[in-house]
């Protein structure tokens, strides 16, 4: 009977571990600082997580399909710089679709290399991280980009506006999460993403076009990056050309924290959203506790390792496995 209970606890931990961890963090931080759960603070955390979150939604597709995307950080810098530059040249109405098209072309290129040429996604996207960075610097001539008339443009609505009292970045994040959540869970395409990531050979034997599925995942990821770039540009109306640097790791961390398997085939949009929020709340909680900003980098990483470890431990029912 005792073992049965232990097994049950194990299986609850394995399935709901991420939610339990989330609840524990919130309670602990709230006890440490009652301001933590105030409406203002929650809004501020979610709003500042929105950019990261939007990117994580797209990367979730890529990871479930069994691949990686490390290029999203520098791709986000690219989108931000491009849309700011085009804003003054052709106006925001045209700048936005033009920027989306250019960013999605980059995604399509990666999708072609990984999907159709079957190159290793780690190498391809690591290379693209560097290549897109160079492209951005070339495009901007190494200069920061600013909108000339910061007061007189409606472009600021995506980053600074509110809808029914809710900040627009949160609305975009929530809306996109709902949309992509449905795509992944309810459509034939979503099913194929799981199949390709779970067992690519079996997917091929079931008549699924594997290359096309992987390709589409990267295009979706790029579209999410473009959306993130739009929010970023709109919020600051001016930007350095390294604004997205390092975000690829935070995005990946949020996706893993949400429990998507790096081997592919497992994960959900809902869990990724939870992963994004956990990451956001931890970083915010540390700031409220008066720790220096730089401490975040260390603590965040420690927590990710813990999360992955507990996930694995719950699956095998032991904290560590001396045999393997």
């Amino acid at each position: 009977m005792a073992t049965l209970t232990k097994q049950q606890i194990g299986s609850v931990l394995a399935k709901q571990g991420i939610l339990i961890a989330f609840a524990v963090f919130i309670v602990a931080f709230t006890v440490a600082n009652p301001k933590f759960l105030s409406v203002d603070n929650v809004f501020s955390v979610v709003r500042s997580s929105a950019i990261l979150g939007v990117m994580a939604l797209g990367v979730t597709f890529v990871v479930i399909s069994g691949n990686l995307d490390l290029s999203v950080g520098s791709m986000m810098s690219f989108s931000t710089i491009v849309v700011l530059d085009l804003h003054d040249q052709i106006g925001p109405l045209l700048a936005i679709p033009a920027m989306f098209a250019m960013t999605m072309c980059l995604g399509a290129f990666i999708g072609f290399l990984v999907g159709y040429l079957r190159l290793n996604s780690l190498i391809v996207t690591l290379g693209m991280l560097s290549a897109i960075h160079g492209l951005t610097l070339t495009y901007s001539g190494g200069q920061n980009m600013d909108i000339a008339d910061k007061e007189g443009t409606w472009f600021s609505v995506f980053g600074q506006g509110t809808a029914l009292g809710i900040p627009v970045p949160i609305v975009i994040f929530a809306g996109l999460a709902a949309l992509l959540g449905i795509v992944l869970a309810k459509t034939a395409f979503g099913r194929k993403v799981y199949a390709v990531g779970g067992n690519g050979t079996a997917a091929t034997f079931s008549g699924i076009k594997r290359a096309r599925t992987v390709f589409t995942c990267y295009v979706i990821s790029a579209a999410c990056v473009a959306t993130a770039g739009l929010i970023q540009a709109s919020r600051s109306l001016g930007s350095q050309n390294t604004v997205g640097q390092g975000l690829e790791l935070e995005v990946l961390a949020a996706v893993i924290l949400g429990g998507a398997s790096l081997l592919g085939g497992a994960g959900t949009i809902f869990k990724t959203v939870i992963g994004v929020l956990i990451l956001g709340f931890i970083q915010n909680g540390l700031l409220l506790m008066g720790l220096q900003f730089y401490v975040q980098f260390v603590v965040t990483w420690v927590i990710i390792i813990l999360a992955v470890w507990l996930d694995i431990a719950a699956k095998r029912g032991k904290l560590w496995s001396p045999i393997a």
Partner: protein, 503 residues
């Protein structure tokens, strides 16, 4: 043997999982120098029992004795240290290492400063390999060996410890007939050295050839032990499934329809050459041959996974080019592949999603997948194929092998194909499910499907086929009707014996 102590005795073993009593008071003993068969349908508890014996699971009740001593198997290493050795169905070898390194992995002989003593290693390994009478040496890379020879490496590994009991789990699943002979020789050597052997297999002819006693499990319960000499297939089957088995040969022929599939002079590089045959609606054509005869490659070509280098494929009399599996499916060809875990299933997905995967684009409710329709398809084939699972949400990886195979078959039947190709449809499946699948293949033909069955098991081919195509080394040697085929002429054909030439 009468007053000898059993090398291994399992007493009243109980193992429960949440909601299931997987083993319910199982007892049996293995005497020294005995080959003891353990039989039961898939899900009867054989694997669980072996995991208890190997220290992977701890029993909830009962005890294990070796000789006179009660032992507790705390883990796999302890089981091995006590002289209990497993030869698994799925091999666990490092392909990039040599045979010698694999055999002594973790226990390589050392010289000073931790350097490997290669000379001793090679010498010891070659001594063992000589005993096994195999055609490779200590330095061969394991990845270059055939599956059968890899299995020999596993067996050689077992011989390095002082084995008291050796457990063979479906050892012949991927062996050819000639390779089986070698394996059986090894088993009889072990036997003469006084080792107790537990032999798990679904293949009746092997059980009756090499075992001394048979213990039978059904639904986690011990059904009894019988001396092999005192029983027959029918009695054993009855104990396993609680009813008698239909072993009659195929004599019923259905009304044949038009030619659904015709292949003319098809070749694919060195894999197969100048292959021609036709399959009519209402007909089951069996493809029999040794592993590597090119049968699977023909199936893969027809399913769009390989490009033929010459020849024509005609569907309903019309020449077609099949560029991809998606193309094949669209033209009404279904393939139940050879390797159900690698090619047939996404193990982490649930039963329903696996079953409807090839048609997920067609099951639409607006922009979404019509889950109601999917569940209806799953329910229909679960009932028709008697798939045992708690529900469609169950991950396929948690099902037994037989039920997994039925999911794959259901997946392709639900596509209502014109041509159904099944490659090794009953590999690693219990007797009861096997005869159900055979019956199903006959029924499908009766309903007007054109069916191609590729199998390495002669009884299976004989049992289901209207005609049998015998292949040897990439070529069709002869095509038999079920009236003219005999075991002898079939074996001759697949061994390439023609005009006095010996194999």
């Amino acid at each position: 043997m009468t007053d000898a102590k059993p090398v291994l005795h399992l007493d009243d073993i109980v193992k429960t999982f949440p909601g299931v009593r997987a083993l319910d008071g199982v007892s049996f003993s293995v005497m020294p120098g005995e080959v003891h068969a353990l039989m039961g349908e898939n899900g009867a508890g054989k694997s669980t029992l072996m995991k208890v014996l190997g220290g992977i699971y701890q029993p909830d009740g009962g005890a294990i004795y070796m000789g006179n001593d009660k032992v507790v198997m705390a883990g796999p290493l302890e089981a091995k240290a006590k002289g209990i050795v497993f030869i698994h169905q799925e091999l666990s070898l490092a392909e990039e290492l040599s045979v010698a390194e694999n055999i002594y992995l973790g226990e390589l002989p050392r010289k000073r400063f931790g350097r490997v003593d290669w000379a001793t290693l090679t010498e010891r390994t070659d001594a063992i390999l000589k005993k096994l009478n195999v055609g490779f040496d200590a330095k061969t890379r394991v990845g270059d060996l055939s599956i059968a020879n890899q299995q020999m490496v596993e067996i050689a590994r077992a011989l390095t410890v002082d084995a008291k009991a050796v457990i063979f789990d479906e050892p012949t699943a991927s062996l050819t007939d000639a390779e089986k002979v070698v394996l059986f020789d090894v088993i009889s050597d072990l036997k003469s050295e006084g080792v107790g052997i537990i032999y798990i297999s679904h293949r009746m002819e092997e059980i009756f050839k090499i075992t001394d006693r048979i213990s039978i499990l059904r639904d986690g319960q011990y059904q009894g032990t019988v001396a092999t000499a005192d029983t027959d297939e029918e009695a054993v089957t009855q104990m396993m499934i609680g009813r008698t088995l239909d072993l009659s040969r195929n004599t019923s022929h259905h009304e044949l329809g038009d030619v659904a599939l015709e292949v003319r002079g098809l070749s694919c590089g060195k894999l197969y050459k100048d292959v021609s045959f036709e399959v009519r609606r209402g007909e089951v054509v069996g493809f029999y041959g040794l592993v590597g005869a090119g049968r699977t490659e023909i199936a893969e070509t027809l399913f769009g996974l390989r490009d033929p280098s010459a020849g024509k494929i005609l569907l309903d009399g019309e020449e077609v080019r099949i560029a991809s599996p998606a193309d094949a499916i669209a033209r009404g060809i279904s393939l139940v592949p050879e390797d159900r875990k690698g090619q047939g299933l996404v193990l982490g997905m649930n039963c329903r999603d696996n079953m409807t995967l090839p048609q997920v684009d067609d099951l639409k409710a607006g922009p979404f997948v019509a889950e109601g329709a999917e569940i209806a398809i799953f329910d229909q084939y679960r009932d028709r194929l008697d798939i045992r699972t708690p529900g469609w949400k169950q991950q396929v990886g948690n099902l037994s092998g037989g039920n997994q195979q039925k999911i794959v078959i259901g997946k392709w039947l639900s596509m209502h194909p014109n041509v159904l190709i099944v490659d090794e449809p009953t590999r690693g499946i219990d007797v009861g499910s096997k005869s159900e699948i055979h019956k199903l293949l006959r029924e499908l033909a009766a309903q007007g499907y054109a069916v191609m069955v590729i199998s390495s098991e002669m009884p299976e081919v004989l049992h289901v086929s209207d005609r049998i195509v015998a292949m040897y080394s990439g070529q069709i040697m002869r095509t038999f009707t079920s009236e003219e085929v005999t075991e002898d002429n079939l074996i001759q054909a697949i061994s390439g014996i023609k005009s006095g030439q010996a194999a």
